[in-house]
Symmetry: C2
Subunit: 312 residues, 2 copies
């Protein structure tokens, strides 16, 4: 089976052949979200039991919340303001009414938290729970993955590696570790991520390119590098300067830098531009070339490409 | 576990509490699609392996086609013109690249057939194939489920019962019956349904209410009855006057009337209004009261509520 990226390329080719259809498409496949005429930004995300979550590691309310925020994060990365959402739920026979109500309440909590309205959806029977959320947002000047230029700085809003640390801690402790301080923050980062809508709204007119960090910083930075035809250099020191990450990584038995580079599901935002950007901190540079590399005290180093791939 | 309708009511309550969010919502949960300001009509539909399709009964290209048309049919029922779509695919490890390419090609075929552009999507790993399609359409005057009035006639565009007959024949013959004529039409109705977009566009300004027939005529007619606060009387003779249905039902070992009333997945359109409606034939009346009943030579009879319910 091909990698996720190879499959997306094949789908882009097949679906791209339909683009003559309705007209009014500003940006099609290949960014965090599609852009349609009328300043509309549109995305869809699916969270599947066994792939993205397990019942023993989070409450149904958490699962509803994080599935909604995962979709909303794509709007944040485009600099869009959330507007409306539809929710498609695939539910097994053993999911009772109380669990469904909690799941939906988590989605509704998340929608309210970012000012979106859930205006419809779909219910279907399945063997495993699957939560598919589509969101429409509005942006007068959407920020794409392309557009990063040599000379730009890289800017990060939100933490990276916290959610991955939290998930490792949960897995190691069978779901209910005693927690406080940094560890509690890491658990919350995985269970209750927050799409960085307000930070995203600062991107318009200020950033040249942006992406949200769902699959890991190194991998998602690669999307900007590829779309922009540039090379992204991440500063190891800037990524490691995070006390919560250091403590949580130790508890998770992982290196802070590994978690920062490859841990997904934090839904931080990475942007390229001259900066400074309100709400963002500087974490690297854009230069000529291709790919993503790391600046360490030893010099520029390659990054082992270990981001999450659904199909590798 | 509650019925699908009870669950939708609970979700409507929870999601309805988010409606203050983004504003600009003309019609929220409870119709075939949501209506947003800017003449936008928006729907989502999910087709799950084992629930909506089996690999041995249809090709991947058929499965892609019918999943797309199932979503597009909601736009037809609103009198909307399709515009753009997003496709979220959940794929098991054993689905190879060729199968995925065929599935996506079927979606692209369907999109082209109705003039829609597929502008993005999502890929996720799952144990079973699941295809979630969200479509945006445009309608200056969307037709809702509410609005049917006593004195209206009922109008049907497209056949009912064909797809259910086709599915029964496929199930009985382990997937590959010799077929010709009416039976071939029934198989095609199940494998390659077509959303009745052109018929739907005749509804605006002419029909008081409409719905698409995905779960069975009796059940979907009930949505108009409930939303409109009226009683719908379907004419048995009008439903049985269908040569293909009669022949295919005999091959399927079922009653034509049963298939017409309870067979789903034909994606016909049912409308209420004074008529006549171009592309539609008259199949009954709207009177005062509630629910759906059948007019037979013996008089008005109750309909056994056997439409497809995912959770009963």
């Amino acid at each position: 089976m091909s990698s996720e990226l190879a499959r997306i390329e094949e789908l882009s080719r097949l679906f791209g052949a339909t683009l003559a259809g309705g007209g009014g498409v500003v940006v099609g496949i290949g960014d965090d979200a599609a852009v349609l005429e009328g300043n509309l930004v549109w995305t869809i995300d699916e969270q599947v039991e066994g792939t993205h979550f397990r019942r023993d590691l989070a409450s149904w309310r958490d699962i509803g919340w994080r599935s909604f925020m995962a979709a909303a994060s794509d709007l944040a990365a485009m600099g869009a303001a959330p507007w409306c959402a539809l929710s498609a739920l695939a539910l097994p026979a053993d999911l009772d009414d109380a669990a469904l109500a909690e799941l939906a309440a988590g989605q509704a909590d998340a929608a309210r938290a970012i000012g979106a309205s859930i205006v419809g959806g779909n219910l279907a029977r399945a063997e495993r729970v699957s939560i598919t959320t589509t969101l429409l947002g509005r942006a007068a000047h959407p920020v794409l993955r392309s557009g990063a230029k040599p000379g730009d700085s890289l800017w990060l809003a939100g933490a990276v590696g916290h959610a991955a640390a939290g998930l490792r801690i949960l897995n190691a402790s069978a779901g209910a570790p005693a927690s406080a301080g940094a560890i509690a923050q890491a658990l919350l980062a995985w269970r209750r991520p927050v799409a960085r809508i307000a930070d995203g709204l600062h991107l318009a007119g200020a950033a040249h390119a942006a992406v949200d960090i769902s699959d890991g910083l190194a991998r998602d930075a690669g999307h900007i590098a590829q779309a922009s035809g540039a090379r992204l250099i991440l500063d190891a020191a800037a990524l490691e300067a995070d006390d919560v990450l250091v403590v949580a990584a130790a508890a998770a038995g992982a290196s802070p830098l590994d978690l920062a580079l490859h841990g997904g599901e934090d839904y931080a935002l990475l942007a390229a531009g001259p900066g400074p950007l309100e709400g963002f901190r500087r974490v690297g540079d854009v230069i000529g070339g291709a790919g993503v590399a790391l600046r360490t005290p030893r010099g520029i180093e390659a990054i082992d490409p270990r981001g999450f791939d659904h199909f590798d």
